[in-house]
């Protein structure tokens, strides 16, 4: 089984977002593997362990994504590939990323490609289905279960609370929804081993791509923080008094207790 995982490095979900110079301020921010991609990596490892084969984790980004790729290797992936666009691209969009990934994947004869269903930063959820279409393979998004039997697959898809049981066949691209599995933490031996596993770095040139081929179709013209809404009452004073006031307000003003 030849398995590929599409991974993105993202801001930690707990990070507060600030803006400087019209861009999201990354100084001092913690970065992580996009949480949905962690499910993808875990699922890939489990499928490989059950079926045999190899897991390659691919990321489009900058050198800094090496850290998250190493983490994926420490979790148990076999190989990692960074497609480094730092020198070639200033701005890309989902068209760009999907084009790059599909160019990389087109001759890899992947049986199974797993991605997160959405990245928690951009939040578009486009790249998985786009890549599948560009490769001419079928896809199922937001999956919570995957069973592979020979060249056929049974997939459970989360559809706004309901589940669809879908039958399809390989090659297949799926995108992971929470609940698919519980991603493992890298073990210490895993971390040691990861240092010796291959992490290849490619650039657009290596994929016979020019900047023009992957030029974004959309452009961000402004990033801003949401306006401070007229929220309710944030209590003040000693904590003890705040608690008393809150209970009083819920009892007498809101009348819910």
């Amino acid at each position: 089984m030849n398995i590929y995982v599409l991974m993105k490095r993202t801001f930690d979900t707990e990070e507060k977002i600030t803006i400087s110079g019209g861009k999201i301020n990354e100084d001092g921010a913690e970065f992580i593997i996009n949480p949905y991609d962690e499910y993808a990596i875990e699922e890939a490892i489990q499928v490989r362990d059950a079926q045999g084969g190899e897991v390659t984790v691919v990321s489009v980004g900058t050198e800094e994504a090496e850290k998250q790729l190493r983490t994926a290797l420490a979790m148990g992936a076999d190989k990692a590939v960074l497609i480094n666009t730092e020198d070639d691209l200033e701005d890309g969009d989902q068209f760009t990323t999907a084009k790059i990934l599909s160019e990389y994947l087109k001759d890899k004869e992947a049986d199974l490609i797993i991605a997160g269903n959405v990245a928690i930063d951009g939040g578009s959820g486009q790249v998985g289905p786009r890549v599948a279409e560009l490769l001419g393979i079928s896809y199922v998004t937001t999956i919570t279960k995957l069973e592979i039997n020979g060249s056929s697959a049974t997939v459970v898809r989360d559809v706004e609370g309901d589940s669809e049981v879908i039958e399809t066949s390989l090659p297949l691209l799926v995108t992971a929804q929470q609940g698919l599995n519980e991603p493992r933490y890298p073990s210490l031996p895993g971390i040691m081993k990861a240092k010796k596993k291959p992490l290849d770095e490619l650039e657009l040139d290596d994929l016979d791509l020019d900047e023009d081929d992957v030029e974004a179709k959309t452009k961000t013209i402004e990033i801003y923080l949401p306006p401070k809404k007229e929220a309710g009452k944030v209590l003040e004073g000693e904590l003890e008094d705040q608690v008393k006031e809150l209970v009083n307000l819920l009892h007498t003003e809101a009348k819910v207790v």
Partner: protein, 325 residues
Amino acid sequence: MARKVLVLGEVRDGSLRNVSFEAVAAGKTAAEGGEVVGVLIGESVSALAQEMIHFGADRVVAVEDEKLKQYTPDGFSQALMAVIESESPEGLIFGHTALGKDLAPKIAAKLGSGLISDVTSLEEAGGNLVFTRPIYSGKAFEKKIVTDGLLFATIRPNNIAPLEKDESRSGDVSSVSAEIKDLRTIIKEVVRKASEGVDLSEAKVIIAGGRGVKSEEGFEPLKELASVLNGAVGASRGACDADYCDYSLQIGQTGKVVTPDLYIACGISGAIQHLAGMSNSKVIVAINKDPEANIFKVADYGIVGDLFEVVPMLTEEFKKLKVNA
């Protein structure tokens, strides 16, 4: 610039989803005086066409086939591509629903176009159509424009107001035939998820914990508070992901949607997915160490502080209240 915009109407249980009318309104803005053409895809959907017209579509094109009874990416993309071929639109608007999220990127890839997902508003500004969308789960927003090719967007439900329904409006309803074949994904079964554990949907009081709860044991003070108030304990996705509790407790876009009389959010930052699941609660209380946490924006009352200090104090105060009552 007047343009022709196709708007995909989404049918569920035989009716059009509300987001379809919101998409028509977005289509109207995007068309800038051009034509808004509704598109309906399904086994038997053309009867719904008039309603799209009443909500502002100029006319409707339907693709009907028994193989389109259920949504599949192959079936619906074949149908839609047939419409796109016959109509040559300059714009496309879908709802950012399970269907729209699944289908739109495939169509965009087929057309080699951009796609602006999860749009919460759009407006004409400085000669451009400007799309606003949340990023970082609503912690920030971005404004985007299309720089090349088709104007294609999915809109988030409940954000763009539909136009007023006008039953005197009329328009053409036509059909496009498409060969629907080689469906590679087959839906064998649709399962409605049974609720398990505490019935959050029915609870009058919910005490919900987020990542700030820090551990499974961290839920204990929340449980105590819930028991004093005869409430249920819920959780944010963050807490479930971190394994502090079971996924069945999850409240949010992909978990349960709840509307209790009192919702006390403890250590929940207020990701937009979570807010989607609880913001219609009657009274919301937020307890969070981070005064900037999103949750305070929907909270009626907030306490900035450590939940491990605040929650036990609250429990004590409510106990006193009960004794005095």
